[in-house]
Amino acid sequence: MFDWLPYNTQVVLVGVTLLGVCSGVIGCFAVLGRRALVGDALSHATLPGVGIAYLLAGGKHFAFMLLGGFVSGLLGIGVLSILKRFTRIREDAAIAIVLSTFYGGGIVIATVIQAQASGGQAGWDTFIFGQSVGMIWDDAQWIMALGLVTLVIVALLFKEFKLVAFDPAFAHVQGWPARAIDFTMMLLLLVAVVTGLPAVGVLLMAAMLIIPASAARLWTYRLSRMLFLAAAIGAGSGIAGALLSSSVALPLGPCIILFAALFFLTSLMFAPERGLLARAFQRRRDRIALLADLRAGKEPI
């Protein structure tokens, strides 16, 4: 289908499609669980780990960097939950603290990398801004493997995730390990973040999680449909963004997010029932009907 494109772009397309699907699906649970900004904190929190892994491996070792990002993301989750449970620091402040200090640490490590190996820096800074050019077949394989594992887990645990996201206390009373299930959702969020880093970058990864899910939410009242829609919007923005990025030589991450934002804006305007236009029309219809009733001298029930 895309064989008119260079091989590298084809690889990128496959990668970003799966990435869009995966972050769309996980993003739904993040958005519904009021964890949209936690996703942002986690994506920034991965940076020091990615950098340290780069230093330890002495170069761009893709899987090792992802692992490093995962570990420091876990640390971020740990700090968030300690602050929330044991101190007077509120969740919003805790998120901002983790985000900014971990990110600062990441930048400091970035300068170490810069100082250490001249020219070896290539491949590292893609994790900050995100880039597609660096995406070669091996990297894409990792992204696909992680994305598929995530999707399989969500498919298997759909019922459990839905229950815990909606009513954790009820889940606990029914005998489900609600906390463990919740933590699994958090881990998948982290996996999605780490998977997306090399393509989209630390700065915009959260958008990949939040925007497609929020757009999908406007169209439907069913969780399953919301997941499919978010996946479709994520994949669509991924493909469109990658094509735009390769044709006008702009960075991949922002291009993807631009299309996602476009999807969101369209949904916000035109979605049936929840869209702004639909709601304005509904209000107008209600008003006309009410006024008609009033003039006809109808009694309210």
Binding site: V31, A93, S100, T101, Y103, T111, A207, P254, L258
Partner: protein, 435 residues
């Protein structure tokens, strides 16, 4: 030793860089305290990201980076970010946090695309994001010097921002306090919380953008919230909180500068200041005198030692009363660890309340007996109260009283006695000792 020696040029550079970083950090930290208290911490983040398209647009229109237009563009987009997020949240289609997330990431993406599209001109994304504190001393005002030192361009800008911030805080002090604490009350008293909010947001946006070039987005984000959070761990009042946040901001600027520049590699100064802020916060979370984790743990430990002491005294007193000999002070059923009991025991001996008799067994001294009598009086009065007034069955009152007696002071003891008409016996028929 040699690495601690400074040349005159280094000192000059250090003073200038730290000066800019500290002045900028202080304005951010002061304003950030209000975001923190209003539970809008992530709004700082959102504004920080959302101003980027404003800078880009202003740059496209004027072709200059350090102009009033940039400042205005950034302020407009900062306020726009907050406004859009708020109206999206209040239209009830999406939750509050997602609204904020959607708005600022989208705006930031637009900004990055604009800046990337303009890359042939002199607006470096790296510079905006990470700041160029290293370059601060080199970028000086032409032909302007104080005491022979050339002043960097960034310095007067940041100083002006700080002055504006301080003026804003002084003028709107009462309003800010009221709005942060109780927006509804403020509204009913005729102070528009919205107006105050948006003034605050505009000021934060302005500070953010004037800080951008010097310190970068990353330090702005950290310095808006982290010093305030550290300060909040130390104090419960607003004015000291602001002062502490400024202290943290300044000390982090100094420490961050030297850690970044005096090591083997020249590290990113802004990033290092953010890391130092994080370390400060971690230390405060651990060691803060009232709200810190260790202080909390220590208070609980002290309390269990006191409970153990009182349990030992009461046990011995009851044993004396009943004419039984106490061989061991295990006190297992109170959930106290043997270490705590041992420590309490030694402390009682030291305080002269406990001694060892001829048979090497623990006994009460005269003072100890007095204290113990008082405790047992509290315990039995409480038992009587629970039995008589609260209708708790006699076989249950002991368990409750055994936990509660540790909290009954002399005043409450008197009140219990009066309520019960100075009863002679507790529900078990044991006599209540006099005061």
């Amino acid at each position: 030793m040699s690495q601690f020696a400074f040349t005159e040029l280094e000192i000059q550079r250090a003073v200038l860089t730290i000066g800019v970083a500290a002045v900028c950090s202080v304005s951010c930290a002061l304003l950030g305290c209000f975001l923190l208290l209003k539970r809008m911490s992530m709004l700082g983040d959102a504004i920080g990201h959302g101003v980027l398209p404003g800078i880009a647009v202003a740059f496209i229109l004027t072709g200059q980076l350090t102009s009033l237009a940039t400042l205005l563009g950034a302020m407009v987009f900062g306020v726009l970010t907050a406004l859009l997020a708020e109206s999206l949240a209040s239209s009830n289609v999406i939750a509050e946090d997602s609204s904020l997330g959607v708005v600022y990431t989208s705006l930031f993406a637009i900004g990055v695309v604009l800046v990337s599209a303009l890359r042939y001109v002199d607006l470096d994304l790296n510079c905006v994001l990470m700041g160029q504190l290293v370059l601060v001393p080199r970028n000086t005002i032409d032909g302007f010097a104080i005491l022979g030192v050339e002043i960097p361009v960034a310095f007067p800008t940041m100083l002006l921002t700080l002055v504006l911030t301080l003026a804003f805080l002084t003028v709107f002090w009462k309003e800010l306090k009221l709005v942060a604490f109780d927006p509804n009350l403020a509204q009913s008293m005729g102070y528009s919380p919205k107006l105050v909010n948006y003034l605050l947001i505009a000021l934060i946006a302005g500070t953010t953008v004037s800080a951008f070039e010097a310190v970068g987005l990353i330090l702005v984000l950290a310095v808006l919230i982290v010093p305030g959070a550290s300060a909040h761990m130390l104090t419960d009042r607003l004015a000291p909180m602001l002062i502490w946040s400024a202290v943290f901001a300044v000390s982090a600027s100094i420490l961050g500068y030297f850690t970044a520049t005096r090591g083997r590699y020249a590290l990113d100064i802004s990033g290092m200041i953010a890391v130092v802020l994080g370390v400060q916060f971690a230390l405060v979370v651990l060691f803060a005198p009232r709200h810190g984790l260790i202080a909390k743990w220590w208070r609980n430990l002290l309390l269990s030692v006191r409970i153990a002491e009182e349990e030992i005294l009461a046990t011995l007193f009851r044993a004396e009363e009943a004419g039984v000999v106490v061989y061991s002070l295990a006190l297992k059923d109170h959930g106290l660890s043997s270490w705590v009991i041992g420590y309490a025991h030694r402390k009682l001996i030291k305080r002269g309340l406990l001694t060892t008799n001829e048979a090497e067994l623990p006994t009460l001294t005269e003072t100890g007996r007095h204290t113990a009598r008082n405790l047992v009086r509290s315990h039995r009065l409480w038992e009587s109260y629970a039995g008589a007034v609260l209708d708790v069955p006699a076989d249950h009152v002991h368990a409750i009283a055994a936990r509660i007696e540790h909290y009954i002071g002399p005043e409450l003891q008197d009140e219990l006695a009066t309520t019960l008409d100075q009863p002679p016996n507790d529900p078990h028929g044991k006599s209540i000792p006099p005061k």
